[in-house]
């Protein structure tokens, strides 16, 4: 199963090659989509992990055991849904397919599972309803 997570770790805890361990020990395909490092907040990685369910959940436990914060990406994307006017301007820029609009109801749908945190909708929404807590 493929899933996206935001990993948060203290900078001094990055002494163990966690990404290497995930690949080697847990047989997970790991794709780093985004990285941010700041002295105050430590490091943040947006990653996509692909592997079987058992390995995935054990890999995540391993990360937590190393003091790494693990959040599903949808917990990091903030969307003020009640204010949405269903214009569709964000859909034009969402190539991950997380934002869609169409027949029959022409209501904006947001599938956070598909979000790759590219931040395009932060720019394209004319009401500025999106925010990403990252970095």
């Amino acid at each position: 199963m493929k899933k996206r997570f935001v990993l948060n770790f203290a900078l001094d805890a990055a002494d163990e090659p966690i990404t290497y361990v995930l690949i080697k020990e847990y047989d997970l395909k790991l794709n780093i989509l985004k990285a941010a490092i700041s002295p105050e907040k430590g490091g943040e990685l947006l990653v996509e992990l692909d592997g079987d369910d058992k390995n995935l959940s054990e890999g995540l436990d391993y990360l937590r055991g190393r003091g790494v914060g693990v959040d599903a990406v949808d917990k990091k994307m903030l969307f003020r849904r009640e204010e949405c006017i269903h214009c569709g301007a964000c859909v034009a820029t969402c190539f991950a397919g997380a934002l869609t609009i169409g027949a029959p109801d022409w209501e904006l749908k947001f599938d956070a599972e598909k979000c790759v945190a590219c931040e395009m909708c932060l720019k394209s929404c004319p009401l500025k309803l999106f925010d990403l807590r990252f970095g």
Partner: protein
Amino acid sequence: MTVKRSYEEINEKLKKGTAVVLTAEEVSKMADEMTPAEIAKKVDVVTTATFGPMCSSGAFINFGHPSPSLRMEEVTLNGVPAYGGIAAVDAYIGATSEHPQNPRYGGGHVIEELVRGKEITLRARGKGTDCYPRKEIETVITKEAVNEIFLFNPRNAYQNYAVATNTARSVKYTYMGVLLPELSNATYSTSGELSPLLNDPDLRTIGVGTRIFLCGAQGFVVWPGTQFNTSKLRNDKGIPKSNAATLAVLGDLKKMDPRFIKGAVFERYGVTLFVGIGIPIPILDEDLAARVAIRDREIETTVYDYGDPAHPMLGSANYADLRSGTIEVRGRKVKTAPLSSIKKAREIAEELRSWLKKGEFTLTAPVELFPTGTTVKGLEITGGAR
């Protein structure tokens, strides 16, 4: 026998609650099984609507005189410049006016907040005259506290509009949204078969004095809108193939509903205002029945390249294609997305129908019809330019 109906007959039926009122989408569906003659017999009024970004919008305000008074020459509302070059305590706040320090906030937002009943900070300055000696004030206003406040939008409800795409190698930030490089997306901004001026393309029933739904209040069409153009090429259904006629509209802001007006900002373009407009079309005869029966697939528009400053034409598309999610441009499949809200437009068409059904809204025949044979001029540069 062909159907003929007068405005008076329809208003009489509306008052009695016997009129048949459909939305433009409903009547378009009906047209799959019925002829215009049959539709004309059955339907009295059709409601049309749109809810989209309309930059050419703004509000006139009369603040009332402080004692002693001042001649308000420089005016800001929540820091956003308003135009004070009219009488002492009158001003016009335009939708696209921006806060100098915070350009993501502007006139569109101020107008929305006024509709919401929020308090807005007014700062004004004048040189001081014998009759208006004061030079500066700061105070708080609301829509209820001011004398008059009415939306007066010089150009709204475009009859058809461009599809915008981008062939350039870089992202283009435009009033048509964020256009990704190399034909990766395309945006459009008309509610298609629900759109007001596409349902009465010859403007037989929409003219000076037509009562309309404006942002949740009853407003009026007061003049042809700016850039009013009746000379655009038309398709075989008589629908202009690109942006053509427009409306200047007016309505009491105090009565407007925040559900149908929204301040907005397009990235690296600027502030604007989403305006909700609904227009009822009386089915006076078979010709109008045929017009309102128009379907998305029968409405074409033109695709332009916003990646090139000259905006060259790239082709055309109909609204059924645009609404399917992809169109073909230069042999490539291009993802499409709307900028005007179809969901909101439907809400407006429904709301207008309920007003009509309750007898709260009467139809008005135009006091004067709009001109024909108009075109739009460009601007010649005789001085400097950059």
